[in-house]
């Protein structure tokens, strides 16, 4: 084996990790707040608003992310009239698809988290003169996040792996560069390197979530 070549190719694949990490960060940072908005909209008092939101969540969660990605990147530009305005860069299309897709999953997680908060908490906040927004921000959300965090951690790990899907629309991320190197050098080993990079990222991520979970576990006794 040509170690120099393997080393250089590994460095090249790592530049793709930059794209992967960018997509990951953009998705996490935007889909969490968006997902929370989705949760609130899905609980709206106005029937049609609620139905539309739940419909979107239903469709997004019920269809493959890969299909959605292809739809956004290849499909939207063919739409009559507005298609031209929906032509996006590969990376932008990936971000848009991932953010909306993950927001829908997070919306479901947050919904469950909200249900887990005792009704008495809303009442206590109310009799203490807190407004609805204050109650949400200071009483309900912190408790919801604690319930939701393990599930959010799971989704984050899945997200790291899902980023590989953007390979299909030609984004030069880890898998794209790996596949190119494997074909060029006829060397399977690069797949192992790619796998290790994903594993390292997920190990760091899992560890970070464990730390945060431990930090906000306010129900530990003694």
């Amino acid at each position: 084996m040509d170690f120099q070549n393997i080393w250089n190719t590994t460095l090249n694949i790592l530049t793709g990790a930059g794209t992967t990490i960018s997509l990951f960060l953009v998705t996490i940072l935007l889909s969490l707040p968006l997902g929370f908005c989705f949760t609130l909209i899905a609980r709206s008092k106005i029937g049609p608003v609620r139905w539309v939101m739940n419909g979107i969540i239903y469709i997004v969660r019920g269809t493959p992310l890969l299909l959605q990605l292809l739809f956004v990147y290849f499909g939207l530009p063919y739409l009559p009239l507005i298609g031209d305005f929906l032509r996006m860069e590969r990376f932008t299309a990936s971000c848009v698809t991932f953010v909306v897709n993950y927001a829908c999953y997070f919306a479901e997680i947050f919904r469950g988290g909200l249900l887990a908060v005792n009704k008495g908490q809303y009442e206590a906040a109310k009799v203490l003169g807190m407004s609805k927004v204050q109650t949400m921000m200071r009483v309900i959300c912190p408790q919801m996040v604690r319930v939701a965090l393990p599930s959010i951690g799971n989704e984050a790990v899945t997200l790291v792996k899902d980023t590989a899907l953007v390979f299909t629309i030609g984004v030069t991320e880890i898998l794209h560069l790996t596949k190119t190197a494997v074909s060029r050098d006829k060397n399977t080993f690069f797949f192992v390197i790619a796998a290790v990079i994903y594993l390292v990222m997920n190990t760091v991520l899992t560890y970070a979530f464990k730390k945060v979970e431990a930090k906000i576990n306010y129900e530990k006794e003694g």
Partner: protein
């Protein structure tokens, strides 16, 4: 003029009339014990007063201001300013589990009194925790406390907003007998300081010893009302006698 005046209060859930026609007055310094079997409407009545339940009909006025007149609510601002005069303590404490004891007291207070600085807030918080005997646990999380301790913190938290009247909704029903005493002790202390209170309770000896007046509720109505002596020694109503016969006189 009574401090709180409740006239013909009505409340129903669908076809179920929980409160049929409830009228009573509360004077400043009164300690009113509301007794009666479960489902008689005691808690609902309390929750209607502080705006946790929508009232169906009747008139409630506090300190001369109408909260609701003949089934019509006053403006949101007025209702809010009226309910702000009341503090409430729940059966299940409802402390905020993600905040320390101190933050449970200080967070709502700071939201309401943004002009007060931190040192003053601390001092007020300390004095109230001291009063309920919970100052040593100021930095504990609610989950680290016993039920009785949590309820004492909940009382201090309500007191933090200087209510003119305290509503207690079965404050000891979730506690085992050993812990009941410490919570009742705190409420007794408040009574001595002439805090106006309405206490929904199943603790008959507490009602007899501490209350200035006792209301006996049954099936959405106040069947009998009087001094503890009148209610416990010479109940006039047959239903009151039946209810009280279930409690062995100590």
């Amino acid at each position: 003029m009574p401090f709180i005046s409740v006239k013909n209060l009505q409340k129903s859930y669908g076809a179920l009339d929980v409160l049929k026609d409830v009228s009573f007055d509360v004077e400043k310094g009164d300690v009113i014990a509301v007794i009666g079997s479960s489902g008689s409407g005691k808690s609902t009545m309390l929750r209607c007063l502080i705006g946790l339940e929508q009232i169906g009909g009747g008139t409630v006025s506090v300190d001369g201001d109408d909260m609701i007149r003949d089934g019509k609510y006053s403006s949101k601002e007025q209702v809010k300013s009226i309910t702000a005069k009341m503090g409430m303590v729940f059966q299940n404490f409802n402390l905020f589990p993600h905040l320390t004891v101190r933050k449970n007291l200080e967070m709502p207070y700071r939201l309401m009194h943004r002009e007060v600085d931190e040192a003053q807030t601390h001092a007020l918080c300390d004095s109230l925790l001291q009063k309920v005997g919970m100052l040593p646990k100021a930095d504990a999380m609610p989950a680290q406390l016993s039920g009785g301790q949590q309820q004492r913190v909940a009382i201090a938290r309500a007191m933090m907003l200087s209510p003119e009247i305290m509503l207690f909704d079965e404050p000891t029903s979730a506690l085992d007998p050993e812990l009941t005493g410490e919570v009742l002790g705190v409420i007794r202390q408040l009574a001595k300081e002439h805090m106006t209170m309405i206490v929904v309770t199943h603790e008959m000896s507490f009602a007899r010893d501490v209350a200035t007046r006792v209301l006996f509720m049954d099936d959405g109505l106040i069947l009998e009302e009087g001094s503890p002596e009148e209610i416990f020694q010479q109940p006039k109503n047959q239903r009151t006698r039946e209810f009280l016969s279930n409690f062995i006189a100590p």
